[in-house]
């Protein structure tokens, strides 16, 4: 009863037609922590995140975000969330500042505070100098940081990142995490992240859940998970043991998702 929960999921299930993407997921994310959702393509990570962020309904099970029922109070839940999708989603036809200001308006940041909030969000991701250039001139890493600024401008209590560093070079990845950790240190924001990078999960996440075929197969701190496998084990080893080296495309993975991930990686160069 001691810890505040940012996300609380009970018995989540979602199917696309005959294909069960998420199959009875129970998940607790402690407020203020970084929680990593790992798993192979088609494991059900993105579907789980889409249900938590209200993009998909949860036909079975229940979700609470900071105690607010997602099924009943979608708009209130959305006010608590900042979301960065897998794709590069900044609008290239707008400047960096306009991209962030759009989300400040959509989150009803009061007019008097809006300009400063936008400037602060851009400064927090080190984009102030290029804020008035159109986003189409940004590099992949800069666009990712711009998307972070869009998600952060409303000062969310929960930041949801769907593979935020996919396709970025090590410097870009480090830069994105540096910014996230800076904001966390300042605000105590909770982070829920999916990633394919085991080293990233090991370094950045307080707790990790490994998903496979729609279910959570293992959960714990990185140290706890590695200890299950043995001395000197890495999270890659845990991943292999959990999935049994069986990466067959089954639950939930769709051609569009794979194509989208590849397109993002290509755009990031």
């Amino acid at each position: 009863m001691g810890e505040q929960l940012a996300v609380h999921c009970v018995g989540l299930r979602h199917a696309f037609g005959e294909t069960v993407a998420v199959d009875g997921v129970d998940l607790d994310v402690v407020a203020g922590s970084v929680f990593g959702l790992l798993g192979p393509n088609g494991a059900g990570k993105t579907t789980t995140i889409r249900m938590i962020t209200t993009l998909l309904p949860a036909p079975q099970g229940a979700i609470g975000v900071f105690g607010v029922d997602v099924a009943r109070r979608k708009l209130d839940v959305r006010r608590l969330i900042g979301y960065v999708p897998q794709q590069l989603s900044a609008d290239g036809a707008l400047t960096g500042r306009e991209n962030v200001a759009l989300f400040a308006r959509l989150f009803d940041v009061p007019r008097a505070a809006r300009k400063a909030a936008v400037a602060d969000a851009l400064a927090s991701v080190a984009l102030s100098d290029v804020a008035d250039r159109t986003a189409s001139t940004y590099s992949g890493g800069m666009i990712r940081r711009l998307e972070l600024a869009q998600a952060l401008v409303s000062a969310p209590r929960l930041l949801v990142l769907d593979e935020p560093t996919i396709g970025l070079d090590p410097i870009g990845r480090a830069s994105v995490w540096e910014r996230i950790n800076q904001v966390r240190a300042d605000t105590g924001m909770t982070v829920l992240v999916t990633t394919h990078y085991m080293d990233e999960a090991d370094q950045q996440c307080d707790r990790i859940a490994l998903m496979h075929r729609g279910r959570i197969r293992a959960e714990g701190t990185p140290t706890e998970l590695k200890a299950i496998v043995g001395d000197d084990a890495t999270l890659d080893d845990v991943f292999r043991v959990t999935t049994g080296d069986d990466l067959g495309i089954t639950s939930g993975e769709r051609m569009r998702d794979v194509r989208s991930a590849r397109r993002t990686a290509r755009r990031l160069g």
Partner: protein
């Protein structure tokens, strides 16, 4: 069916958001529509290419078709010169061509993750669609102004009364909102850009020729009159013609039909939007 949350949470069920809701539902819809319109204007400010390229087609209609048919007097339009008669029709056509392909932008936004991000903001679906519809209206309006200037250069006898010009803006926005939402509805049904492009191209010309944009209703065969009667473009053209060149028009009926058609289509498009988010 949702199961009850099994574990009592420490966090309050009234967990405060940083920026809580400030508007009623109607205020939220207006605020979101304003935001979407602003974004559309910002995009136009950064890149005016589309504004110029989209002006070519109406210019050709007015210059070639309009001038030629004015000379040969093939279409009886009473005391009104054919070019004057045609100009409101081309104005409506120009707005139609912009808004009917707006669904392609929605599909692009879905593929780029923009739609998902918009749907995770505290914006009801209906407010998002209304915002998009009015944004299409603003873009069409800017285009309509270009057509109006072209028409003025060609000597079309137009109204200079501010109230009539404002009413024309309102009619263009309403018509564009309807066709934009029709496009989003089709996008929600077919889900892919290629299919939407094909359907858009297939319906655009029938909508245009099945209206009074080029010729008076009195010249239409019976079956075409029926199509014109259920075609919102016909009401848009009728209103624009009445406002711009002062021909007899059922303005009240035109506006009521356009408002109802736009409201209906906003509702249908909003219902189908979640299909695009899956």
């Amino acid at each position: 069916m949702s199961a009850p949350l099994g574990v009592p949470l420490v966090a309050s069920a009234e967990a405060p958001a940083t920026h809580p809701r400030r508007f009623g539902f109607a205020g939220l819809v207006v605020a979101r529509a304003g935001t979407m319109c602003l974004v559309e204007l910002q995009k136009l400010r950064h890149d005016r290419t589309e504004l110029i390229t989209r002006a070519i087609q109406p210019a050709l209609w007015l210059l070639i078709f309009g001038e030629t048919f004015t000379r040969i007097r093939a279409i009886p339009t009473g005391n009104v010169p054919y070019l004057d008669y045609l100009a409101p029709g081309i104005l409506a056509q120009s707005a139609l061509f912009i808004s009917i392909f707006y669904g392609i932008q929605i599909i692009w936004e879905r593929d780029a993750g923009v739609l998902a991000k918009l749907l995770v903001t505290p914006t009801p679906r209906i407010a998002l669609v209304t915002g998009k519809a009015f944004a299409a209206g603003v873009r069409a309006l800017v285009q309509a102004l270009v057509v109006l200037v072209l028409a003025a250069i060609l000597g079309v006898g137009r109204t200079t009364k501010k109230i009539r010009l404002l009413a024309m803006c309102f009619v263009v926005i309403l018509g564009s909102a309807f066709f934009c939402c029709l496009s989003i509805t089709i996008a929600g049904l077919v889900l892919t850009r290629d299919r939407l492009m094909g359907i858009g191209q297939a319906i655009t010309m029938p909508l245009f020729f099945g209206s009074n944009a080029l010729y008076p209703v009195s010249l239409m065969p019976g079956w075409l009159r029926v199509i014109n009667r259920v075609n919102p473009l016909g009401y848009e053209v009728d209103a624009l013609r009445g406002l711009l060149i002062g021909t007899p028009a059922a303005l009240g009926t035109d506006v009521v039909v356009l408002v109802l058609a736009a409201a209906l289509m906003v509702t249908v498009a909003s219902a189908l939007l979640p299909r695009l988010a899956k």
